[in-house]
């Protein structure tokens, strides 16, 4: 379990990383990158799995079940959409670079 200041340090470093990683992104990559980061927060699936895995009552299980469905949709859909966008990107723009 991550507690107190350790968590704060992780938050801070991760925030700087996120900012730094895309600080020089060209305008044409805005939408694909939005899609890519949309896929990355699909990691919520891991949390949803844990939440459902530890659910006891029917209500908790139902909510957890919906959570895993939603999270999987985020991860899978996010991946396919990003891949399709970047694929198109390569054929039209990648050759020039």
């Amino acid at each position: 379990m991550i507690e107190g200041f350790t968590a704060l340090y992780i938050f801070m470093l991760a925030a700087f990383t996120g900012y730094e990683v895309i600080s020089r992104v060209p305008v044409i990559l805005h939408t694909p990158l939005m899609s890519g980061s949309n896929f990355v927060h699909g990691i919520v699936l891991v949390g949803a799995m844990v939440a459902l895995g530890h659910a006891d009552t029917t209500l908790e299980q139902t909510i957890g079940f919906i959570g895993v469905i939603l999270a999987t949709g985020n991860a899978v859909g996010g991946y396919v959409v990003t891949e399709r966008m970047l694929e198109m990107f390569k054929s039209s723009k990648g050759g020039a670079k």
Binding site: Y19, L29, G36, F39, I43, L45, V46, Q61, G73, L86
Partner: protein
């Protein structure tokens, strides 16, 4: 446990490197594959989590979620991609909210900070969920008009305050909170997300989707803290920060400020906005 943490660490590294590659035209395509490998690793290793029950339900839910999402994403027209991002982003926000819901209803004893982050993640995730669904509906032309009514800004403010008040109540009450209050809290947060997005015109939607994308990232990071899951904290926070910057960049590329995009439906420029939308 070392195995799980190790794989989560590897997944976090792959996510960051993947995003880094996606921010340059030359390496962009490799980036999504790196991030994808990270996701597969993290998901598989989660099955080894200690005391993980309901395994059948988990596998079933993954199937139910994955197949339609995959099929839809594969077959939708290229021009419809922005609303698909909105839809999948909303699902992520909703998932973060459900994690909070399960934790709150279960009444797990959390530290004050964890309980606060659970509630904050619930609010942000719910707003991102219902807001993204509205954004999807608008871009998909299911919903054509920007809904404007008298005192809209005031009503939204009141809704937001009620949501916050219920959230504070849940934080103070802790595990003793009645389920009814929790359901009410989520309902108000969802309603606020809907009403906040309704007045925004279709042309501004990409910026709004990017904002909700950042918010979902933040919600995922918060819920990661609640569950003590480092992979979620890192990936969520990275997306939260990157998404915020991206939102600003997109707004600037359109020669707009973010405040202008979010509140123009109410303000002096509202008239032009409506005819445009």
């Amino acid at each position: 446990n070392v195995l799980i943490e190790g794989f989560y660490f590897l997944a976090a590294v792959l996510f960051i490197l993947g995003l880094k590659r996606m921010s340059s035209p030359v390496t962009a395509r490799g980036g999504i594959i790196w991030a994808g490998m990270g996701m597969v690793l993290a998901t598989l290793v989660t099955f080894l989590y200690p005391n993980l029950g309901n395994l059948g339900l988990i596998v079933m839910a993954i199937m139910v979620g994955a197949l339609p999402a995959w099929w839809l994403a594969k077959h939708v027209a290229m021009t419809d991609m922005p609303q698909m991002i909105a839809l999948y982003n909303g699902m992520g926000g909703g998932a973060a909210a459900t994690i909070a819901a399960v934790e709150l209803i279960k009444g797990t004893q959390h530290s004050l900070i964890a309980q606060t982050l659970a509630v904050l993640g619930a609010i942000i995730g719910s707003i991102s969920f219902s807001g993204s669904i509205i954004a999807f509906a608008k871009l998909q032309s299911i919903m054509k008009k920007s809904l404007l009514f008298a005192n809209q800004q005031l009503i939204n403010l009141v809704l937001f305050i009620i949501t916050l008040a219920l959230g504070v109540f849940i934080i103070i009450q802790g595990p003793a909170t009645a389920t009814v209050i929790i359901i009410l809290f989520f309902s108000f947060a969802l309603l606020f997300g809907i009403l906040m997005t309704l007045p925004i015109g279709g042309a501004d939607m990409p910026v709004v989707i990017s904002l909700y994308n950042a918010l979902t990232g933040l919600a995922v990071g918060f819920e990661g803290f609640v569950l003590g899951n480092a992979a979620m904290i890192i990936a969520g926070t990275v997306v939260g920060a990157a998404g915020t910057l991206l939102t600003q960049l997109m707004a600037r590329a359109m020669n707009r400020s973010l405040g202008n995009v979010l509140f123009s439906g109410f303000g002096a420029t509202g008239g032009q906005e409506m005819t445009e939308a």
